[in-house]
Symmetry: C2
Subunit: 225 residues, 2 copies
């Protein structure tokens, strides 16, 4: 198995239902692409004709609000897929994708996958499962956004990043975000995000080194009112 195959398979378990031949074919027509930090992979309103699979690096999926502020909807890392919706609908994408650091991605044209999607019910069912999971996560996010304070939301995104994407050798969160990104995930003003992180620092809940953040007291984050 090529490296890309295993990459897609690992996280997007929908692809695990493809037969060996199907998988080989999909894998064969992939196109590797490199995106530099800050690069826009696609933008809200574009028509996507395939999915991107993340081989390395991290990107954010954002949506522009009417007030002109970007809202981060999701972070996507190694093995994650961008543009899933494009497989299913002809509609333009509702999200933008921006690389948060240098990224390697595979692009798989829609045409290659559609055939399997139409003929292999098990495969379609598995795609359905991942989408149902996304939907559940989305409900969760909505409730968090609606019912929790900015401070609580900040605490949770720190723990989320810690738990899902891990830390580097020095114990710093392995995903490095700007304060503006934090604000845009939590859904608050940049100054408010900065202020809260400063407060956490004062209370020795986190420490920082430039943009990098280390969680010093997970317990306090978890049980913060």
């Amino acid at each position: 198995m090529s490296k890309c195959e295993s990459c897609i398979v690992r996280e997007f378990n929908a692809l695990k239902s493809l037969t060996r031949e199907e998988l080989m074919r999909v894998s064969a027509c992939k196109t590797a692409k490199i995106f530099r930090k800050g690069h826009v992979i696609f933008e809200e309103g574009e028509t996507l004709n395939g999915v991107y699979c993340v081989k390395s690096g991290v990107c954010k999926l954002t949506k522009m609000s009417e007030n002109g502020k970007d809202q981060v909807v999701k972070l996507v890392v190694k093995g994650g897929l961008l543009g899933k919706r494009s497989l299913v609908t002809e509609q333009k994408t509702n999200l933008s994708a921006v690389a948060l650091n240098d990224m390697e991605m595979c692009f798989v044209p829609k045409s290659e996958i559609m055939d399997d999607l139409n003929k292999n019910p098990k495969f379609t069912m598995d795609v359905l499962k991942t989408m149902a999971e996304d939907l559940k996560d989305s409900d969760e996010s909505l409730v968090n956004m609606a019912q929790k304070s900015v401070k609580r939301r900040m605490a949770e995104i720190l723990m989320y990043i810690h738990d899902n994407f891990g830390t580097d050798d020095d114990g710093y969160l392995s995903i490095v975000l700007s304060r503006e990104d934090y604000a845009s995930i939590v859904g608050t003003a940049t100054e408010s995000a900065i202020r809260i992180l400063s407060q956490f620092k004062k209370e020795d809940i986190i420490s920082t080194s430039g943009k990098r953040i280390k969680i010093e007291d997970y317990h306090s984050l978890k049980w913060m009112e």
Copy 2:
């Protein structure tokens, strides 16, 4: 075609891909149920073994937040389906469903649909499409919740109900919600919801009669800062 068939078909267009025979079979094993206003149809954490299709009435899908407040995630009316996710995953439902007025529903056991879902790729593909649409709506809601003021969100839910569920003969919104429900949709305190609606009344943007609300000045709602 029986009444129920056409009901399911009308809104859940996923079912339109079923063959005539498949549809007849599904339709045959449905169970009609009545739920009174306030009745809990199912609760977060329950295992669902089928989907409910709304024949008449309205219900809310809610999720409990850690702070103990319910958040309304979605309103479902005639033709809408509850428990879609249960078709796809073995997991317990992440939402509760509560009737907002008297409701008539059809229950279709999972076992009946699963067969079609596994064998009819076009059907599965259509379910996939509705789920992708749900996901898009969900992204939209998240951004609204994160970036807009409570007042703006209240204005939007009023317009949403007006546009999607219409008005009665007197011009009042045909879905009648308690102030607490409004608060729980908008994601705010009940008092805040009441206060904002009172303010709209003072500004002659809406008028009320008991719980019922009539939009008097749609334009003001739309262009409210």
